[in-house]
């Protein structure tokens, strides 16, 4: 590890979760006491400030700070990306190495910046939603739900409960898609071609289910008022439920195939280790955090309907390696399917109910955190005259990049793809 633990000998189990642009308000997560703390004014350490600078340095390519610089005989920088084979999106890495072994990895993000957070300022929420959904296509349901939730909190308007259930349904379907696709990509990196093809087929299947249910493969426009393409009638729900039961079986047999492959397991076991202390210190979120032994899932720790009414299993690992992260995601595929099943079973009982959002942190301002497929996603919306006055977003990918960089230290080049895929990072999600 790069840094000695702070005085006292132990890493405090608190992590910075969000800071707004003016740095007047901060969100902290206390993993020991399992609660979220609002700080106003925030006490930001220099370590926090480094993270905040990176979260807020949008709109231009910049190097993420990861806390070390390495020099030595024969050491050089290997530039990787942004337009190169193996880097799935536009993003780059500077790899310090003496050949073969990664001594230090510095991600360079910002190539994909579309300045969405500033582009939505001055628009009505329905209009802004179109842009927010396109933050990162594969996390669109989470972004849309978080944005809408924050708008509702800011406005203090009641939401029909069925609407919340619809959003959750879309999110869980998208989580299934993302996790299955991630497993497919790890399989691809490990040249597990049969499993790769089957996992891709399953991922495609989940996209088609999404399209049948919400009228769009990425659920674009699914939550817009008066969406005509939503098909959630009784027959649709029954068909979806049956299809998902088959899906569950297919996924279970596919996973058995993966578990039976020594090459697959060997290549991801002990790859890109993230210790529990590191995960908390750098504010890791989502499966990355849970795979390092921290039991935190927003659906359990900061729940809103329908998760308050459902049984949410917690997937957790302790090894902190790529295998643990993949295992957590595999469990979450199952738990998401279970959640969808519960929702479909109890759909009729929620009809007509209304949900009153929690009170806003200040008038016209709503902050919502929810569990996106790659982890905790925070939306901070300020409204003025019914229009978006300011938007603050902190995505899971932003937070998890340093963990990837840390995990890659000491790994060999060939570990790169397993490691990268196991974190489920997206440049689009980072850059906005």
């Amino acid at each position: 590890m790069s840094a000695p633990p702070p005085a006292g000998g132990s890493v405090p189990a608190r992590a910075l979760t969000y800071v707004d642009a003016e740095r007047t308000l901060a969100l902290r997560t206390d993993y020991e006491r399992k609660e979220t703390i609002f700080e106003r004014p925030p006490e930001l350490s220099s370590e926090d400030l480094g993270l905040v600078e990176h979260w807020q340095a949008r709109g231009r390519p910049h190097r993420l700070p990861v806390g070390e610089s390495v020099e030595g005989y024969g050491v050089f920088t290997f530039p990787y990306g942004p337009v190169t084979m193996g880097v799935p999106e536009s993003g780059a890495f500077d790899i310090r190495t003496y050949g073969e072994r990664v001594l230090e990895l510095v991600p360079e993000v910002g190539y994909k910046s579309r300045r969405i957070a500033s582009a939505v300022v001055g628009r009505v929420p329905a209009d802004a939603l179109l842009r927010v959904e396109r933050f990162a296509g594969n996390f669109s349901a989470s972004h849309a739900a978080a944005f809408l939730g924050a708008v509702e909190v800011a406005n203090g308007i009641r939401v029909p409960e069925e609407e919340l259930w619809t959003r959750a349904l879309a999110q869980e379907l998208q989580r299934v898609y993302n996790h299955v696709r991630l497993i497919a990509r790890v399989a691809e990196a490990a040249s597990q071609n049969v499993g790769l093809a089957q996992a891709h087929a399953l991922a495609e299947e989940s996209l088609r289910l999404m399209a049948r249910t919400f009228g769009h493969r990425w659920a674009f426009g699914a939550f817009a008022p008066g969406n005509r393409f939503r098909r959630l009638g009784p027959d649709d729900r029954r068909a979806l439920g049956e299809r998902l039961r088959a899906y569950d079986r297919e996924f279970a047999s596919l996973w058995e195939l993966f578990l039976g492959s020594r090459t697959f397991i060997d290549r991801i076991q002990s790859t890109a280790l993230v210790s529990r202390a590191d995960a908390i210190r750098w504010g890791a979120v989502g499966p990355t955090l849970r795979a390092s032994g921290v039991a935190w899932d927003d659906r359990l720790r900061a729940p809103s309907p329908p998760y308050t009414d459902l049984f949410v299993p917690l997937a957790q690992g302790s090894e902190g390696d790529a295998l643990a992260r993949v295992l957590v995601r595999e469990e979450e595929v199952r738990s998401s399917l279970l959640l969808v099943e519960q929702m479909l079973d109890r759909w009729t009982s929620v009809r007509g109910g209304e949900y009153v959002p929690r009170p806003p942190v200040e008038p016209g301002r709503g902050i919502v955190r929810l569990e996106a497929p790659s982890g905790d996603l925070v939306y901070d919306v300020r409204l003025a005259d019914g229009r978006v006055a300011a938007l603050g977003v902190r995505t899971p990918s932003q937070v998890n990049w340093p963990l990837f960089a840390l995990g890659m230290r000491g790994a060999v080049f060939t570990d790169f793809h397993f490691a990268l895929e196991s974190f489920g990072l997206a440049f689009a999600d980072t850059d906005g």
């Binding site: 840094a3 702070p6 220099s46 190169t84 050949g99």
Partner: protein, 668 residues
Amino acid sequence: MTNIAGVLLLVSVIGLFAGAPLAILSRRLGYAVTLVASGLLVATAILVLAYGPVTAISWSGVIAEPESMRLDGLSAFFALTAGIVWIGTSAFSLDYDHHDTPWLAVAYSLTLGSIAIVLTSTNFLVFLAGWEAMTLASYWMILEATGRPARTFSAAFVFLAFGEGSSLLVALAIAAFYSLSGGFAMTAITVAGPVTSLVFVAALLGFGLKMGIAPFHMSEWLPIAHSSAPSNASAVLSSTLTLAGVYGLFRLLTLLPEGPSWWGGLLLIIGAISALLGALFAAVSEHAKGLPAYSTIENNGLILVALGVALIARAEDVPTLFAFALFAAFFQALAHAVTKATLFLCAGYIERSTGTVDLNRVRGRPKGADAAASGAILVASLSLAAGPPLAGFVSEWMILEALFQSFRFSVPALQFLGLLAGAAVALAAGLVVVAMVKFLGFTVLWKPVATDRTPRRWGLSTPIAALATVIVALGVLSPWILQFLTPAASTFAGYSLTAPVSGLLAVPNGWSIVSGSPFGILSPPALAIALVLGLVPPLIYFAFGGPRKERPTPVWSSGRAPSAAEETYTSFGYSTGMRIMLRGLLGTREIRQRAGPAIAAEVATPEAYNVDLEVLDVFKVVYDSLVRAALWFADGLKRAVMPGRIGRYLAYILVIVLIVMVYTALAL
């Protein structure tokens, strides 16, 4: 004709020594004289190989045995090889030696002269004197290196220590030989016995030490010493000093009766291990002169392997394989000496034109460097990497062909040993490719770089290019070269051999090298012709194909600004994969140290670390513990016997004298 050759030989040996006093007058004059003398030596050797042995002078009475200056087939081959190398190095030195003092030139000349004494003497006392003079003169040459004195002294000391160890073992071999033959003259012994094996083993270790073979390659005594020397000296040391070791071994084997087959087996084992370790360390070396020096260990190992196969074949009575392996050994010695000299001179050229010998910092030939030197680097490193149809390719092919035929041995253990040695040699050949691609890739194949030095140095590049031409010629004309070397091989065999050349299909008789009867066949000239013919159409196209379609574009660096693309792969990085994969053999370990003071964990201010990936020779551990044990013993003895108590010290002397007396009485 023999009279002329005799006079030529005398003149050339005197000329090699005459370079020393003349160099004091003028360095260039000294080198010019050694250049001419080397030419005369080559001419003499050619005459001897063509017309038979020649004796320049002989005298008696000065020492116990009659002595003469003589070249027979065997020594003529080595004189020819050395002479070719010396022509190149002397011509190179004319422009290379920029020292303030003439002492490098003096030591150079003395080294050449004493190697010539070693090659031409017919009496082991003179041989040993020449051997010792050669070691001392080489020691002086290494001392003349410019650069950090501490490193130079330690390199020279290491060289001297190992050189004297070699002399000691050679003296032991000669003493054992004397006990058999009753004289120091180089006359064959006919009676075999356990002492002949003692002569063989002592000679193998003594001469092998000079060749840098395992287990005496230590951690790099030869690479340290050879790479620290000035480049012209490195070339002479690495190609002809080790060649003297090869000659000594060959010469002694001609005088000994036919030995048991384990002699050959021992050669195979030592040779194969040397080849493998030499190649391995060459592949992970970052020093433009250290890399060729490790490659020398590999090549000398190959010579021993070929000789080992030959000895086993002789003991097992497989005459065709014996002849083929013997020719392979000779050709390997010739090919290696010329190629290695070229490569060391190339390293000197690189050092002169870029100011560094660190392959990580060389990074490309200087802009406008002359094509001759670049071509020479290409040819020399391709030849060492066994690229057809160059000399190194032919010798490597012959050695592997010889090993393939280990099934002809009657003893299964020997067959198996041949297989293992074959695998080791093949692996070494693969590792050397890595080393040579690195050498080549990070020098001439890299994008040209601007330096403040003057790259065009015809005085340096012409001799290199000439030697490179010899490498090509040796490879392409190898069937005829082998035929020409028949007298040398016949001298070794003790009976007349025929070169393993023949013809097959459309290839005319004498154009192909044939192993076995026939087992494998290779025609380097036909291969060369095919290669050239294959090159003709594209060359015609380039010459007459109209204007080239070229479109200059900026360098693509994955879509980032080119400034980031300036960061390039280092030569260290090129072979780190090997360091990590073979960490068991190389003892690789990473040393990670904080570069600055420990600072609080802060994201914005990165902590600085220094990382070093070190490799270690497993044999070095053994040597280190030997050194420690010797020091401990000496220290203990000193404390126990030497100080204060005169009585104890006298008792010690008395005991020693008694032991010596008892031993002498028993021996008589």
